[in-house]
Each structure stands twice: as structure tokens, then as C-alpha cells.
Subunit: 356 residues, 2 copies
């Protein structure tokens, strides 16, 4: 199993400074979190589960995680007060911030926003593909933009002799049916692992709010920003093979451990796993197009922050600047296509409830 | 309030590599932890508190914290099995590792020993002079070599106009009665803060095992290692004033936020606070003299790891190597006095129980 933490620290290429697009997603799910907590949290639980344990899985170091936690607690407090539980009887909250062991927890903990709010904070290092918490010890679980990261690149895709070994294209977002199938199988296995772990950790009736980029069956015309960025990164790497800046084998063997499931596919995996009911599953609403201005540099920084670690390891640290510089030119060339679709929906919101 | 974390990382001057003397203390308290858990943990609690929450306050980054947690869990498991609770009915353990926000948690989490054992691990950054956990959420609390660190140097000692302002000597280990009184008052206030916070966080019947260096009323002849080291550090700084390497005012204004209480003094503070009963209070047994060989370099590294941060800030980073080099000469000169007393007891073990 491999770990792919976001860029640490507070520098110009850090995830902390380059996660505002993910942050917009988190703002967009605020309304869904509100709805989820209003309609699906049992008020009996809120008055008896004390302390009330919340976990954010894949918190990284950035500001988004604090925003998500703030929304969850505000919605829980609103639920309490609207049901007549006065503040002296409301539960105390303890929030567990989880990410890979190699995540930059020092930066997370030193953030002025860490632990600020009506809650006690803890960090939990480790992979959510394994167990992280004691049995039945969590009440509400949140995870945003994490489940599309696979625990590893599917073995078949890494095997030159396999029909799923692929040339040129990165990841399983598109490509030969064998490649797509290998990625889907890895996702299925990872999700089953994830759901079985969480089924142990959540109390019966506990909720899990997930947001992840999904495969909306887009055409070239209506591709959301991140999908288009991946396509251009692909093209950039192929250009660099043509001009001799990168070796063909090195590019062929570069695979991102990312899978975007179809909404139906995700729902089916949850049902097959059997521990959770699907309470809500819907794409995040599109942002009004006018609200997000297109900025090629910002877009590139946003794909760089999560991918830089993997790319340094595979291509070598010295070439990474050049790859992203070339990507920026390509993004600028496509600015019309990007700006037309800046607000396009690309994320799925899912609310699961632990069955009794 | 100020934070004084130990030296981070894994380098030659890190606390992680220079805490074996503290580690010997933790080995010495193993027998006391065993006794505390055997005689003072209520078996009803062990079968109903699930998950069972343990916290280590002031964990730093070193190996000692893992050893202490291992001993506690082994003793709890032994208690379970000796009382006929079979392993399927034993509680799951969750351990919270706490230290200052500026502690090097990245190194702690990356340690191969972190979270290794039958427990789930979390990090909790923050000062134990404030609240860290929800109400009544902890069952067993451990803290070693932390409580002698004050939240700040007493104000009176920092005030040139106060009769407690002191010349020359560092800390309140010795000096004019006003200095000693100012340190004792700060310790009293910090302990009251600490105990009130923990009284909120521990369940009634929950235990707190504390080890701290204490003031045994030693003479020059029977001084334990650390006390003697502080005296020589004092002398080193005064030498450096005489030879013009350090400014007199800079040395006069250097104060360590450390207080070693008398055993009686500590017991009295707990009683006055009123939330805990004192179940055990006794000095750690002396080690057999033959078991610890004297090593001047090792001794100096052991005092450097915890003090370097404060000393860099006060004297400037460039002079710190020289101070510790000079200290080493002095320690070597005193090697006879040191080696005679290597195993002398200097630590107090205290077991407190949260009153109902």
C-alpha cells in the first residue's frame, strides 16, 4: 500500500495554499451537510452520545478541513437548538483529523484555525484503508476528495505483459477497456476495505458524509476542469517524449492511482458491502459560471499540489518544474474551453448511515 | 504561556536520541505502574469502559513514551486476564499522545513504534495547562518528566525591581528565599490549573500516574545527576561572564521555568485542589550503582536536548555549542562526584484517583 500525501508546508506550491477549488466544493456541500444533519441525525443520539465524535478522513493540511468541520458542528448545534436541547445539555465534540502518516501534521497543528471552535481536536495518522479507531467509537464521519485515491495503481496496469498495460495515457480516467476495468476493480476492493473498516468504527445509526469526484460520462465539450487538466497533463508528457525531454518507457510506466466511479457504480458497491444504507447520493450543484474566473496558473498549481510528490518520485525532482510550466502553456491555449466550463459539476455527495 | 518542546527530529542532539536517562526512570516506574493497576483499577470499570482511553501528556517524540504506554496496556491486560475477563471481552484501547503544538509530531508519528501494539493511536497538540479532552472521556492518564516544567518563569523573578529578581543562578532550584518562593507559587498555580483540567477530563474513578523530579533536600554530596548538572551549567555561565564570552545581564536574566517540589509540597497541593485522592506517593527506588556507567558526553547531551530550544532563544544559536562544550569539561572534572551518585533517586511517583 502506498501513501500519496498532498504537498506539505506553507510554501507557494503547498496544498495548503492550493486547495481553493476543492474548498469551493466544500462550500457547495455545506447545504447538503445541513440537509443531511437536519433530516438524518436522530435527536435521541445527539443527547446521549456525549462526547460526540467526528472524524475527518484525509484532512491534509489545508484550510478546507477546518471549514468542513465548522459546518458539521454548526449544523449539529442548530439541530440541537431547533429540537429544544439547550446549550448546557448539548454534547461536547471531539474531532479526529486523519491523514497518511507522511502528511505534514506539524503544519496542520500549527495552523491558527486548528482546534478553533467548540470542539477538542486530535490528529490520527494512518491509512483509511486499514482500521483507525476503536469499535463503535465514531458518530459522524466526513471525507472529501479522498476516495478517488486508490491504495495502489492496479497491478495489471503495471505489468507489461498484461493486456491492461497501457501506453501513453495516465490513470484510468480513459483508455482501453482493460485499463478502465483494472482501475474499477481496484476501486471496488479499496472501497470494500474502507467500508468494512468504517462499519466497525461507526456506531449503528452513525453517519458518513462523502464527497468525491465522479465520472459523469462527460463529452469533450462539457468536461469539468480537473478532467480537462488530466487530459492536458497527458498531452504534455507525450510532447516531452516527442521532444526527447522524457523517456517513452518512463511516461508509459507513469500511472496515477486515481479512479472516478460512476454514481451507479458507487451506489452498487455500498449495497454489495451491506453495512450502510444510502441516504443521499447526488452530484453537487454546478456553480454559477460567473462566480469563478479562469486562471491558468491557479489551475496548474491546483493539480500540482496533490500530484507533485508522485511525479517527483517517478520523473525526478529536476524535471517537475518544466512539466508544470509546459502544462501551463497548454492550459492557456485551452482557456476558452476551460472558462466555458469552470462551474461544471464534477463531484458526488453521498450520505451513508450505519445499519443497526 | 510559553512552550518548551524538547529538541525535535532524529539528529544527534534530538531528545529522541537523548532521553535514555529519562527512559531508565520509565523502566523504574514499570513496577509501580503494575502495582497501581493491579491494586487500584476497578475491574468493573475495565469491563464497562470500552473503548478504554489512555492519555500520555508531554509525550515528546522519543522512545520513552511508547515504552510507558506499552507497560500500561500490558498491566491492564494482565489485570483483565487475572480477573477472568477473557480476551474477547477485554476493552479496545485508544491512546492519546499529547504535547505542545510546537512538538515535532511528524517525527513522533513516523516512528516505527508509534501505534504498534494493541491500541489505536492519536496525537493531541496543546498545553496541559489548558483543557485538551472532552468531559469525563479519559480512563487512565500518564505523564512523566513534565510537571516540573512551569507554564512560565515567575513574573517576580523577571522583574528587576522585585526582591525575587536574582543574579547569576538559573532557575529556582536554589537561591534566595524570595526566588524559591516565587517558583513555588508559580508551581502551585500551574498544578492547580493542571489538576482542574484533568479533573474535568477523567471519569470518576479514573487514575493518573505521574512521575516528576522532586526536591529531596539533598546535600552537595548526595545530589542526583540532573541537580548536579544544573549547578555546573550555572557555574559555566558565570565563567563565561568572567571571561567576557557572555554579557552579565544576559546571564542574570536567564531563568529556567523549572521547579522541583518537595514530596510534602506536592501532596499538599493535590489535597488543596480537592478533586483527587493520593493513592501512592513515593520516590522511585535507586538504581544499583553498578548498573549505570558515568559518561560526561551523554550527561551533557541529556541536559542539552530539553534545554537547547530555550538557550538558543536567550543566548543566540551561535554560542550554544560553546556553552555545552564548556559544560562537558566541568562535568568531566566532577566525574568522581557524578559516578558515585549515578543511581541516586531523584524522581517521585504519584498515583492519583479522580474522586466521585
Amino acid at each position: 500500500m502506498e501513501a500519496y500525501p498532498m504537498n506539505g508546508g506553507n510554501g507557494p506550491t503547498s496544498y495548503s495554499h492550493n486547495s481553493s477549488l476543492q474548498g469551493k466544493g466544500i462550500m457547495a456541500i455545506k447545504a447538503m451537510i445541513d440537509e443531511a444533519i437536519r433530516d438524518h441525525v436522530d435527536i435521541k443520539h445527539l443527547s446521549s452520545w456525549n462526547p460526540y465524535h467526528i472524524a475527518d478522513l484525509g484532512c491534509s493540511v489545508g484550510p478546507n478541513t477546518f471549514l468542513a468541520v465548522k459546518h458539521i458542528i454548526q449544523a449539529l448545534e442548530l439541530k440541537c437548538s431547533s429540537e429544544g436541547i439547550d446549550s448546557s445539555k448539548q454534547p461536547e465534540f471531539q474531532v479526529f483529523f486523519n491523514d497518511h502518516v507522511s502528511n505534514d501534521f506539524n503544519t496542520l497543528f500549527a495552523s491558527p484555525r486548528f482546534g478553533k471552535g467548540r470542539y477538542f481536536a486530535a490528529g490520527v495518522p494512518g491509512s483509511f484503508h486499514g482500521r483507525l479507531f476503536p469499535k463503535a467509537s465514531l458518530h459522524f464521519l466526513h471525507s472529501s476528495y479522498t476516495l478517488h485515491w486508490l491504495s495502489q495503481v492496479p497491478r495489471a496496469v503495471r505489468d507489461v505483459k498484461s493486456p491492461a498495460w497501457k501506453r501513453g495515457r495516465i490513470g484510468g480516467l480513459y483508455g482501453a477497456p482493460e485499463v478502465v476495468a483494472a482501475y474499477a476493480a481496484q476501486f471496488e476492493s479499496d472501497m470494500d476495505c474502507f467500508l468494512r473498516g468504517r462499519a466497525q468504527e461507526l456506531v449503528p445509526g452513525g453517519l458518513m458524509a462523502l464527497t468525491l469526484p465522479f465520472n459523469g460520462g462527460w463529452t469533450d465539450v462539457d468536461q469539468p476542469v480537473f478532467i480537462r487538466l488530466f487530459g492536458l497533463l497527458d498531452a504534455t508528457l507525450l510532447d516531452m517524449v516527442c521532444t526527447g525531454r522524457l523517456d517513452e518507457d518512463t511516461v508509459d510506466s507513469f500511472n496515477l492511482p486515481i479512479h472516478l466511479p460512476l454514481s451507479k457504480e458507487f451506489e452498487m458497491l455500498v449495497k454489495r458491502n451491506g453495512y450502510f444504507s444510502v441516504e443521499m447520493i447526488q452530484p453537487l450543484p454546478s456553480s454559477p459560471k460567473t462566480s469563478i474566473a479562469f486562471d491558468a496558473r491557479l489551475c496548474c498549481m491546483h493539480i500540482r499540489a496533490p500530484l507533485e510528490g508522485i511525479m517527483r518520485k517517478h520523473f525526478g525532482a529536476e524535471i517537475v518544474d518544466e512539466i508544470f510550466e509546459r502544462l501551463r502553456y497548454k492550459v492557456e491555449e485551452s482557456s476558452y474551453a476551460f472558462s466555458k466550463n469552470m462551474g461544471a459539476r464534477q463531484d458526488l455527495f453521498v450520505l451513508l448511515k450505519r445499519l443497526p
